[in-house]
């Protein structure tokens, strides 16, 4: 598997990371090297082996449906770059 330059640009766009044109070929090489490394896993025969869902073989813990959190708008908004009253404010999103 190998990524072309267009795919690198697309991945960057989807991740909202600005990539200069001169960086594309470097990134392409680095990403391909990473993918090549990971592809070594393909050499292992996993026929009949159940996928591992986590380090600990536990079931998902479930909590009771109780109100235990919230009512702290000030703390939630404390790091907001911009706010209007108790709303987050962001550049206008136009449909």
């Amino acid at each position: 598997m190998s990524l072309d330059a267009a795919t690198v640009r697309r991945i960057a766009k989807l991740a909202r990371i600005r990539v200069n044109e001169e960086e594309v070929s470097t990134l392409q090489n680095e990403l391909n090297a990473i993918l090549g490394y990971v592809e070594q896993l393909g050499e292992v025969n996993v026929e009949g082996v159940e996928p591992l869902s986590g380090g600990a073989q536990m079931a998902l813990r479930q909590r009771e449906d109780k109100l235990t959190d919230g009512d702290m708008a000030e703390k939630i908004l404390a790091n907001a770059p911009d706010r209007i009253e108790n709303f987050f404010a962001v550049p206008k999103v136009v449909e």
């Binding site: 998902l60 235990t68 919230g70 209007i84 108790n86 987050f88």
Partner: protein, 483 residues
């Protein structure tokens, strides 16, 4: 007649699949302990988890899982004892985590089906592809400020059930009937309030068109349509647009569109260009969700009676027509009202009163079934007065109107106004004799063959008795005296 749209090149068939997003009824959110209640002061129902703060871990709400399973059972669907959560990645201002925790490869509910009934009485099955659990996003408002959008995260992280249908729907009518059915089922189950105005139920509509007999063509997705009527309009508007594209030699491209109800048309959402590249991957913060069959069975045993079963039972137990039963079970509260009324009484009579005078009074007075124009006890007493022949049917209508107006019990009204039916044959005979004597000319006409005058005599007698005569006895007496 199957629905089709006529283009320049002949008839087109419309193919529709719906994704319904139904907000789970629960106290707290899917993965946090903040309130899942609608409304609240801006950002008051928000925990650090919902706001996507670093280092916070989601813990699943057991009740949300139970609600999804109940809904799955109500959709006669496969419950998957193994399911798993995935991250659906996209950027939007009201999605603070930068991803939505959803279920992609292993949903909690698999294939099922629902029955819809069309205007002409035909029953059709619509397949359910799946139901999965996911987080709702926050709410953006764009009209509060000239250059900014404002975000409220109260809804962010509330549990959502996405119910995906098979592309089995073939007309706006079927789309409407399907949505009403889903709404009815979740409301009966108490798993979602079905309130489309407040956005607790919304639909994404997938539409394509094809010539009869063809394979499916490319579809477009119309996002977030928030009323049943708009869904029906959007299906037709989008189908007509696609037919125009195909017939002018163009090609429909798969895209996300928006329905604009004020213009009655759909338009492309440029912002969603990359929307289908979600780069799903398994949610590393959550282990797979494993359910016990015994727990699912327990939930199943406690399910309420669903609308289809209730409708069939009403027909069977109360001997009412299938159509009337459908009207009565549309809302659970109406069904309960009817059943309380019909228990131990004439089921057909009860159904006629509920769907007739009672519904009319409800509409007229702007009341609803939770706050009815007359109580079920009062209406029951009225039916009893009819059954034991204390009053006749015509008087009952007047008494009912009086009940709506004054809130008094029918027995009190009958007593007060002296509306008791007259069954004293002496009094009836006297009234009949007087009417016949006063209308000697008509009697002569009747005897010479004008049979229709019989009704006139009965009417006159009833009038003379202020409507209180027992209709059967009056008929009998008129017949006898006319010889």
């Amino acid at each position: 007649m199957a629905y089709s749209l006529e283009g320049r090149t002949g008839a087109w068939e419309v193919v529709v699949g719906l994704e319904v997003h139904a907000q789970v009824i629960s106290e707290s959110k899917l993965f946090s302990g903040a309130s899942a209640t609608y409304g609240g002061a801006p950002n008051a129902h928000v925990s650090f988890i919902d706001a996507g703060f670093p280092g916070m871990l989601p813990v699943i709400n057991k009740e949300c899982v139970a609600q999804a399973v109940r809904t799955g059972l109500g959709l006669r669907a496969q419950i998957n004892l193994f399911s798993r959560f995935d991250r659906k990645n996209y950027f939007y201002a009201d999605l603070p985590q930068g991803y939505q925790i959803s279920q992609f490869a292993h949903p909690i509910v698999g294939k099922g089906n629902v029955e819809i009934e069309l205007q002409d009485g035909t029953i059709k099955h619509i397949g359910i592809t799946r139901l999965h659990l996911e987080q709702d996003a926050g709410k953006s408002m764009h009209d509060q400020h000239p250059s900014k959008s404002v975000i409220d995260l109260n809804r962010a992280g509330v549990g959502l059930m996405e119910i995906v249908s098979e592309p089995d729907i073939r007309s706006p009518e079927e789309a409407g009937a399907y949505l009403r059915k889903i709404r009815q089922i979740v409301r009966y189950l108490g798993t979602c309030d079905g309130n489309m105005e407040e956005g607790s139920m919304r639909a994404d509509v997938n539409v394509s068109v094809r010539k009869p007999g063809e394979e499916f063509r490319t579809r477009c997705e119309i996002k977030n349509v928030n009323s049943i009527r708009f869904v029906m309009h959007a299906v037709e508007a989008e189908a007509l647009r696609q037919i125009e594209v195909w017939e002018s030699g163009g090609e429909v491209v798969q895209e996300t569109r928006l329905y604009d109800p004020s213009k009655g048309e759909t338009r492309s959402m440029r912002s969603k260009e990359d929307a289908h590249d979600y780069r799903y991957f398994p949610e590393p913060d959550l282990l797979p969700l494993l359910l016990e069959q015994s727990w699912v069975d327990e939930l199943k045993a406690k399910l309420p009676e669903l609308p289809d079963e209730k409708r069939a039972r009403f027909c069977r137990e109360y001997g009412i027509p299938f159509y009337d039963a459908g009207v009565l079970v549309a809302e659970q509260a109406t069904a309960d009202f009817y059943e309380t009324l019909a228990k131990g009484r004439d089921g057909k009579l009860a159904a006629n009163w509920v769907t007739g005078d009672f519904f009319a009074a409800m509409n007229r007075t702007g009341k609803n079934i939770e706050n009815p124009p007359v109580t079920v006890e009062a209406l029951g007493q009225l039916l009893d007065l009819l059954a034991d022949k204390t009053i006749n049917g015509r008087i009952a209508k007047d008494v009912f109107e009086e009940m709506v107006e004054t809130g008094k019990m029918p027995a009190a009204i009958v007593e007060e106004k002296g509306l008791k039916q007259v069954t004293d044959t002496g009094a009836i005979d006297a009234a009949v004799a007087k009417v016949l004597a006063d209308n000697a000319d008509k009697v002569a006409e009747y005897k010479s063959g004008k049979d229709k005058l019989f009704g006139f005599f009965v009417g006159q007698v009833m009038k003379a008795m202020q409507g209180k005569g027992n209709p059967a006895l009056v008929n009998e007496a008129v017949k006898t005296q006319l010889g």
